[in-house]
């Protein structure tokens, strides 16, 4: 009768390699950790044009100047942009912004040659008007979501994770 070999548990298959890995030293292992810091993620975008999406739904465009370990950011020449349905948008100059990291949803580096292609096809409107409309849309959304949450709870006993301050 042919005998099958018992398979070693997978992570024991190469014991020698593991021992060698250990002898590599804690520090070397951590050299490889360099890539695993937020710093590595953001540092490449410093002194470049970026866009930031905030938790309250605002889109900010600016030049990233500094950041820290909490992803707090300093943006220069910041422009706040509002997008509205039917291909409309509005912009407002905001100057220098210090953004607290906890409010950031995402941060993207912009290609300055392409950054305006989106709005080229859109119609610009005055900011104050746009802002009012945007606020109205948000209020509507909040209302809708709270109603939905109530219903979910009452009917299915489920909770909703909608937070009024997270409108992104």
């Amino acid at each position: 009768m042919s005998q099958a070999q018992i398979q070693q548990p997978h992570h024991q298959q190469q014991p020698n390699k593991n021992v060698d890995a250990l002898s590599q030293g804690v520090e070397d292992l951590y050299l490889e950790s360099y890539a695993f810091t937020t710093a590595a993620g953001i540092v490449g975008s410093v002194d470049r044009k970026v866009f930031v999406l905030l938790r309250d739904g605002r889109n900010l465009f600016g030049i990233l100047r500094t950041f820290d370990q909490y992803a707090n950011l300093v943006l220069q020449d910041t422009i706040e942009r509002i997008y509205l349905p039917n291909n409309r948008y509005a912009e407002a100059d905001r100057g220098v912004f210090l953004i607290r990291g906890e409010n950031v949803v995402m941060l993207g580096e912009l290609d300055i040659d392409k950054e305006d292609t989106a709005i080229e096809e859109m119609v610009q409107m005055p900011f104050n008007e746009a802002d009012k409309e945007w606020e109205a849309l948000n209020a509507e959304r909040i209302k809708l979501e709270t109603q939905r949450a109530k219903k979910l709870l009452k009917v299915s006993g489920l909770t909703s994770d909608f937070v009024k301050s997270d409108l992104y």
Binding site: H10, H11, A35, F36, T37, T38, A40, G41, I42, G44, S45, F51, L53, R55, N59, F61, A71, R81, Y83, G101, E102, V104, V105, M106, L107, G108, E109, L110, D111, K114, E115, D116, T117, A118, I119, M122, D161, D166, Y168
Partner: protein, 91 residues
């Protein structure tokens, strides 16, 4: 540390990140940190109208707290090893 450890093995893999606002972004995972913030390269977004400027964005840093799901390929995960690792966390 478990999921940090896990995501480290996914660097250079393509993943789709679904945010809590239902928007999904596909890209190559380039970096992750202890808070599970993600850095993606070469991104595409499933919603063209919500953030029209995303077309000009090559790489994106996403704050971990805003992620709902990260969709992966089955082959990227060693589930048995993951089970073991999860157990270790309890030791």
């Amino acid at each position: 540390m478990l999921f940090f450890s896990f995501f480290k093995t996914l660097v250079d893999q393509e993943v789709t990140v679904e945010l809590k606002n239902d928007i999904s972004i596909t890209g190559t995972l380039k970096s992750v940190d202890q808070f599970l913030n993600l850095k993606l390269d070469n991104i595409t977004c499933n919603n063209d109208t919500k953030y029209p400027h995303l077309i000009a964005v090559r790489n994106l840093f996403i704050r971990g707290s805003t992620v709902r799901y990260v969709h992966l390929k089955k082959e990227s995960v060693d589930t048995n090893l993951l089970q073991d690792a999860a157990r270790r966390g309890m030791l």
